[in-house]
């Protein structure tokens, strides 16, 4: 028995059931009172109900008929378990920091932390990447594609030109 599929399927079915029971009814149903919409047989709730019930059905199917050949539990190598949460934390922190420091400085900080975290120790690799990559991306977006990236508190005037 592939426990992993059973657990996931049950979780999906319960969440989807909550979605159709509590989420979909939050959609306004006042359109029915409008005289101009009397020809509409389905309102804005119809499609979310369909999608939600499909999730319930397929979640239940995953639980009762798990995929063959899968392990009972998710198998992540023990030495790799910290890397995904670390990368997620770095990504989230980077976005928060970007709003304060701007794209270039936040990117430089993120790159330095990420490279160090994932085992890059040589300064002659870290330094060029940290300095050149954020500036190159900022200039590429701004000058070539006319797309603005966050300036933050310390916008570099010479970059914006």
């Amino acid at each position: 028995m592939q426990r992993i599929d059973c657990v996931f399927g049950i979780a999906v079915a319960i969440l989807a059931l909550a979605f159709v029971s509590f989420g979909v009814p939050t959609i306004s149903d006042e359109w029915r009172q409008s005289g101009t919409t009397r020809y509409f047989t389905m309102g804005p709730r119809f499609y979310p109900y369909v999608a939600g019930w499909l999730c319930v059905v397929f979640g239940a199917l995953m639980a009762v008929r798990p995929q063959a050949g899968l392990p009972d539990m998710i198998d992540i190598r023990s030495d790799a378990r910290w890397r995904v949460p670390a990368l997620m934390a770095i990504a989230f922190g980077y976005v928060v920091l970007m709003q304060v420091l701007g794209f270039v400085l936040a990117s430089a900080a993120m790159l330095a932390v990420a490279l160090a975290t994932f085992g890059v120790r040589r300064w002659y690799v870290i330094l060029p990447v940290v300095v050149v990559a954020p500036l190159a991306i900022k200039l590429l977006f701004l000058r070539v594609f006319a797309l603005v990236l966050p300036g933050g508190m310390f916008e570099l005037p010479w970059v914006l030109g």
């Binding site: 992993i4 599929d5 399927g9 979605f19 959609i27 919409t37 020809y39 509409f40 047989t41 389905m42 309102g43 804005p44 119809f46 499609y47 979310p48 369909v50 999608a51 939600g52 499909l54 999730c55 397929f58 979640g59 199917l61 995953m62 995929q67 063959a68 899968l70 998710i74 992540i76 190598r77 790799a80 890397r83 995904v84 670390a86 990368l87 997620m88 990504a91 989230f92 980077y94 976005v95 970007m98 709003q99 990117s107 993120m110 790159l111 990420a114 490279l115 994932f118 085992g119 890059v120 690799v125 990447v129 990559a133 991306i137 900022k138 977006f141 594609f145 797309l147 603005v148 966050p150």
Partner: protein, 500 residues
Amino acid sequence: MDLVLTVAQDILSPLNLLVLFAGVVGGMVVGAIPGLTVTMAIALSIPFTLSMGPTPSLLMLLGIYCAGTYGGSISAILLNAPGTPACAATAADGYELAKQGKAYKALRMAIIASIYGGLFSTAVLIVLAPQIAEFALRFGPPELAMLLVFSLTVVGSLSGDSIPKGLFAAALGMALATVGSDPMLAVPRFTFGQFELFDGFAYIPLLIGLFALAEMFGQAESGFRTGGALMPLKGADPEGSRVTRDDLRRCAIPIFRSGFLGVFVGILPGLGSSIATFLGYAETKRVAKDPSRFGKGAIEGVAASESANNAVTGATLIPLLALSIPGDGVTAIILGAFLIQGVTPGPLIFLQNPDIVYTVYLGLIAANILMGIVAVVAMRPMVTVLKVPKRVLYPIILMVCVAGSYAIRNNVFDVYVMLGAGLLGYVLRLFNIPVAPLLVAFILTRPFEEALRQALVSSEGDLTVFVTRPIAAFFVVLTVLAILFTARRNLRGGGLRTGD
């Protein structure tokens, strides 16, 4: 004819050629690096197309698509680590040839087969797409709704290894697409008062998260490993690097046959190039006089798998151009690029925007030719890319993901959507749930909901409208057959498998 010449002239302008060249080189580099997929490359390049016109943006995406599909063979042959899942079969014989000092021969045969596959599928696209589109002009809302039901069912049930999982991914995509204003009455759904959600989740951050960031999390889990030892390009014997007349003679039929199989698989939604490659390889091995040579350095194995996977490129664009139905993740993203440019693929594109259609045709031909030139001229520098450690590459890609998501609407909210989508994609990946059906369903939901509700408004709520009109009924029958076929396949425990 005048229009064809005008489009050709436009494509051959220096700026457009430069963009195509950038797409081809970028695609080949990304395709060659194991762990970076074509889908990821196309997703990340979408923000760059925002400030371009339709012609250069399409050329860039087509260049990435064609060259990226081929690029996977470089690392498959030299590293025994396929750059893309579609090149897994290439590694079986390509790496063996490289170990025998014949890496150049394998790479040259791969490019010959890839160019043939790409050009053959483009020819099929040119012949078939207008015919299908002309037929599709007869579709009203009931026919369109049932066609989309059929597409969603096929994509969901054929992607991945399990029907419930594929269909769940499609249903999840449908649920996510309901966020935002209702398409008929503009009633807000699940917006929680956030004005950023009134138009629904922005498409580009979602796909960058699902395909690029989720892949990055997956690579972090595996410790950013690269694969086997990098084989040298040239062996001691220079004769071993040449593709001889005898090699071409032996590979001609496998290339033709696999090209045909690749086109057939590419037209069907939900299958993808991985299946085409394995079908082409398996069929070539099955009919070979000495099947025991396969897996030990048979050049026909490389030729067959590369012809098949590149033959998918043009074929997947047939349902996209003619019916506005993306069959896999890559074409779903290309559909998004069309929409960003204000062009809606579908039967009417052949009447309203024939220039765009010719741009796709000629762009594919130009991309395949340029891919051949770049592969021949710049193979050596291309190989040095394989030496860049992924632990350096991925933080830079994270930076591009964030920049691309932000630049769409100058909005940090979209960056959080991208992070959320990355997390969702990673969780789905952990549970072996395919992501492509989610994206395809997300894109098709709005037209599907519109068509469904329009059909029911016009029939005053009578559901028989879907079975009394012949074309709609035909799609209902096809949907039922597709479900029965896949259920039977699933019960027997065998069947097809997609890697992307």
